[in-house]
């Protein structure tokens, strides 16, 4: 299996005013193609910082963050943008563009990646069908429930055939029934489509649904286990 994401002695220090805060203090992590990894940890453990680095949204202070064997700290802003096009982001607060319909939101990430109009339309329809929103694709986010919005976000994340899905508390802001549905969808993507998934959560139960869990605490990975099904 090819290694898609690899962190080597990853450190990240923020300046909080004049006080340096070590958010990551030497994280080592490897994610291979087809993996379903949950990063578990309480708030302040550094999991969001790690997520930002895996998502090429930020650069490390020290150590290496390799995405498809490329060290992102050596890349320019434009090159980082190119890397992000191959990553499917799913956020806790959905982060859809409110003035666009579900379909337009999915198409947006493809238009950023220069896909042709016809292709975009087809792909968006397919993906919305996969996430079960075929009937609601012309609705704007405000007309959709939280669960539905998160499905749109997942369809958008899949639009450019990403190397992996990067999910930040994907069920953190929706009711438990919808959360179960979303997790069902995520597991389906993992099992049936072979999508590589990295999910950040503070929810033990959610993490246990992944194939593998790493536990973070105080800027370090303190535990790593394979979940048995």
């Amino acid at each position: 299996m090819a290694t898609i994401v690899e962190a080597v002695n990853l450190k990240k220090t923020y300046m909080l005013g004049k006080v340096p805060v070590e958010a990551l203090r030497g994280v080592n992590l490897k994610v291979e193609s087809g993996d379903f990894l949950a990063i578990l940890g309480p708030s302040g453990s550094g999991k969001s910082t790690l997520l930002n680095l895996i998502g090429a949204l930020d650069k490390p202070t020290e150590g290496q963050m390799l995405i498809e064997n490329i060290d992102i700290s050596t890349l320019s802003d434009n090159q980082l943008a190119d890397v992000r096009r191959r990553i499917g982001f799913v956020f806790q607060f959905f982060n859809l563009i409110p003035r666009f319909t579900a379909k337009e939101n999915v198409e947006l990430s493809m238009s950023i990646a220069d896909m042709s109009k016809d292709e975009r339309r087809k792909q968006a329809q397919n993906l919305l069908e996969v996430v079960g929103l075929k009937e609601r694709m012309n609705h704007k986010p405000a007309e959709l429930s939280g669960g539905e919005q998160q499905r749109v976000a997942i369809a958008r994340a899949l639009a450019n055939n990403p190397k992996f899905l990067l999910m930040d508390e994907p069920t953190g802001n929706i009711d438990s029934k919808a959360a179960n549905d979303i997790m069902g969808l995520v597991k389906k993507l993992d099992e049936e489509k072979g999508v590589t998934i990295i999910m950040v959560t503070h929810d033990q139960r959610l993490a246990s649904q992944a194939r593998r869990t790493v536990q973070m605490f105080d800027g370090l990975i303190v535990n790593e286990k394979v979940n048995h099904k």
């Binding site: 930002n52 998502g55 949204l57 930020d58 802003d77 434009n78 943008a81 190119d82 890397v83 992000r84 096009r85 191959r86 990553i87 982001f89 956020f91 982060n95 563009i97 003035r99 666009f100 947006l108 990430s109 238009s111 950023i112 990646a113 220069d114 958008r156 450019n160």
Partner: protein
């Protein structure tokens, strides 16, 4: 991201804030409309005046008057005491490049017909020579002929003397008798002078005004009659026709005439007056455009202000776009695209409403305006109708200016948007 996608994204952002975008656009509209209106009115005015001048003002003529160039008033020998006389034409006629010259004696007076009286300028001039200098304007209208060798009683009147109100109420016709009078204020006691003449011809309508050439408001009498009637051989001005209207011909002839009268005369050329006028108009245009440009500047600041507010509101959106892989320069282009749309829209509406405004003003001033169906009339705004002129250059410049100002003032907010860090932008509430 493709250019069409960038533009449609910009457009969707504008559509979301219709009122705000509308008000911002209005700023550009007002600025551009002001510039277009002012420029097209001044250009129209310039065109009208130039045309009127050229009509009554052959370009190959010089006007010689005594002293310091009192031409508009009629040329009394000012200051120096130097006087120009009727027979000075003989001296001038001998000079190089001069074809012919004609002396003019004029006084303010009145003319009385059976149907009514008018205050007029009475011009004594040799009809034959005058007609050959102004072949297009010193022309009788149908039914009359300007006599080559007039008798002393013959009078030629301008169109507005015979038909002062342009409504067909005519004061005189050919062959009517007319009582011509002026007050000799130099005599002690001042002495009214008058004689009875007969209308030989009415001039065709000339339109506009003239400096030395025929006018609709004048009465023309033979020079010899003027000399005896006004009791003087001193003339107000001498009009000289040159062989051509080249600049060198005009300059050389002017110098020669001045030299022969020992620099005691002023020589004005029609071409020089036109040039002076057009340079005056250039200054006026520049000045007015400057004022209008200030309003455009204000519009630009409005655009910048709105863009900065919009940038703050959309920080999170920019974070999302960047997380989806949008490059910084694309974010920049999206914001600039919004300003281009606002600028273009504002400029187009601005040019149209400026043009409309110019025509409304022209109509309000009377007679002018190209929006009316009928042919533009003369005889308003004093004696002129303004027809606003909108050249393709002005249109193009207005469009470029509108878009340019919008884009320039959007550069800073757009740059700031493009420089947002995705992590921080996503965290922004």
């Amino acid at each position: 991201m493709k250019a069409s996608d960038i533009l449609s994204y910009s457009f969707s952002a504008i559509k979301l804030r219709k009122l705000r975008a509308g008000l911002t656009t209005l700023g550009v509209v007002i600025g551009i409309a002001a510039i277009v209106a002012l420029l097209s009115i001044t250009q129209g005015l310039q065109e009208t005046i130039t045309l009127q001048l050229q009509r009554g003002f052959a370009t190959n003529t010089l006007i010689v008057s005594a002293g310091g160039g009192v031409v508009f008033g009629g040329g009394d020998a000012a200051g120096s005491g130097f006087k120009l006389f009727v027979n000075d034409t003989q001296t001038i006629n001998k000079l190089e490049n001069v074809e012919l010259s004609v002396a003019i004696i004029q006084r303010t007076g009145s003319i009385q017909f059976a149907a009514g009286a008018r205050n007029v300028t009475i011009v004594g001039v040799d009809f034959d020579s005058y007609a050959s200098i102004y072949p297009t304007t010193f022309v009788a209208e149908k039914g009359g002929v300007i006599p080559d060798n007039p008798t002393n009683e013959m009078v030629v009147v301008g169109k507005r003397v015979s038909d002062p109100w342009k409504n067909g109420t005519v004061l005189c016709n050919v062959n009517d008798t007319a009582e011509i009078a002026w007050l000799n204020a130099a005599a002690r006691p001042p002495k009214p002078e008058n004689y009875t003449g007969s209308v030989a011809a009415v001039l065709q309508e000339i339109g506009g005004f003239s400096i030395s050439g025929p006018s609709d408001y004048n009465v023309y009498i033979p020079l010899s009659k003027a000399q005896s009637f006004f009791g003087t051989d001193q003339c107000n001005m001498i009009i000289v026709r040159l062989t051509n209207d080249d600049k060198t011909t005009i300059d050389n002839a002017s110098k020669a005439i001045k030299a022969v009268f020992g620099d005691q005369v002023s020589v004005m050329s029609a071409t020089a007056v036109l040039n002076t006028l057009s340079s005056v108009f250039s200054v006026i245009e520049l000045f007015l455009s400057g004022i209008a440009a200030i309003s455009l500047l204000v519009a630009g600041i409005g655009i910048m202000n709105i863009m900065i507010v919009s940038l703050m509101e959309r920080t999170r959106e920019i974070g999302i776009l960047k997380a989806l892989g949008m490059k910084s320069h694309t974010v920049l282009l999206i914001f600039l695209g919004e300003s281009v749309i606002i600028g273009l829209l504002g400029a187009i509406i601005g040019v149209a409403s400026g043009w409309g405004l110019a025509n409304v003003v022209a109509i309000a001033l009377g007679g002018g305006g190209r929006l009316r169906n009928q042919a533009p009339q003369t005889g308003s705004f004093g004696t002129m109708a303004i027809n606003p002129v909108l050249t393709p250059t002005v249109t193009l410049l207005a469009l470029v200016f509108g878009i340019g100002v919008s884009v320039i003032f959007a550069i800073y907010p757009a740059w700031r948007a493009s420089k947002l860090k995705p992590v921080e932008a996503l965290r922004y509430e």
